[in-house]
Symmetry: C2
Amino acid sequence: MAETETFPERRRGSGVKLVYDLLRDEILDLVLPPGSPIDEVQLAERFGMSRTPIREALVRLAGEGLVETLPNRSTMVANIDFLNMHTFFDALTLMYRVTTRLAASYHQPADLEIIREHQARFTAAVEAQDALAMIASNRDLHAAIAEAGRNPYYISLFLRLLDEGRRLLRLYYQSFNDRLPREYVDEHEAMIAAIEARDVELCDRLAKAHADQIVRQIQQFLARDQRQSLPL
Amino acid sequence: MAETETFPERRRGSGVKLVYDLLRDEILDLVLPPGSPIDEVQLAERFGMSRTPIREALVRLAGEGLVETLPNRSTMVANIDFLNMHTFFDALTLMYRVTTRLAASYHQPADLEIIREHQARFTAAVEAQDALAMIASNRDLHAAIAEAGRNPYYISLFLRLLDEGRRLLRLYYQSFNDRLPREYVDEHEAMIAAIEARDVELCDRLAKAHADQIVRQIQQFLARDQRQSLPL
DNA sequence: TGCATTTTATTTGTCGACAAAGAATCGACG
DNA sequence: CGTCGATTCTTTGTCGACAAATAAAATGCA
């Protein structure tokens, strides 16, 4: 249980980022399940540093809503709010649409290259049936599209939503079959082509369809999960 | 210059919030102009506390983009990015529309009361020609509308945008006439009525018109300002 | 035994101090 | 007189320690 990780000579100032990135990944990959408490001292020992940088990393995570902190009492991994899931779906769909539209308008050649790289990775993940790689590359792909749209406000909200979605999908692929429909690959291709053609309206329609597809799939899972957890 | 503020016995844990709130206000009201450096030690002395809580407040402000921090070097008040102002306008307009639409759908009676209170304050500010009160109450009014829409993702993005707008407007009303068109009062009234009538489409149109109006006014100011700062 | 109250224990919030990383200053050399 | 390099100085990043706040355990009492 107590694996001795060793973090050798670090550069001054790199500590927070190290802790932040790792904690973030562990939260989004559900290694740290929602609601689990986070002990500062324990983390300090684990990373071989003082509590100060740990604390700063936690404050940043709290700012992004990945961690909830009760005053004078332990901070814990943020819960997933299943009750208000529809607000998440609503915002996610809107951001899919808006970022894809903007990408159609403002993308530059270099953006398309990056987007295509991510799409290639996503395709490879689908063919390898590697669910985690699918989740990651799907996220990266849409993040790249958002970047091509060049609106920092949308980008930051979208990233937050995609991360939250990463947690949800992770939940999904832990419990069920590890296959993501090949459809997604084609939908992505269509979106990329529409972006390249700078066809804003087509982008909007494709993005909405794509988002609806994903939302439907997650909702299906949620419903199924809810049925399973019903008392008999 | 060195006014001796006294912050007497504080409760444990209240320090960060105190510093955060005050710094935030000073940044948004341009008491701390964009680009001005922030010295931790100086703040620590001013508030009569150690650097630790100051630091945490700064980390949180950085998370909201109100403050930029260079590694190993001083953190400073975030600059206003005049070059990419259109991304701000675009996001602001969209959030005006979305939050008003959602308010039409999801508001409850208590929400309308709160909204009307803010509108009353806004009206009073307009009649008193108190620009700062207008800015504040206008912000609060739209924040209340967003709250009535009950989507935390939109709410947080919108609040961020409204704050950024508060800085812009502050810039505006420092330099020019302190009058906001009476039109805004009527536009607000129309929006509130549409929300109450749960007319989503009308809300959308009114919100868009209102946003366009505000954007146009700010752009007008920016253009005028740019002309003035041209070398002769 | 069951409940209220005191005591202990754990964990956070804050502090003062020190060392590293730049920036500014000074000085040597051309 | 200007440029480069060493030195000082300022400001941040990190540390270990202590005290407040709360939870958990222990104690007293009916």
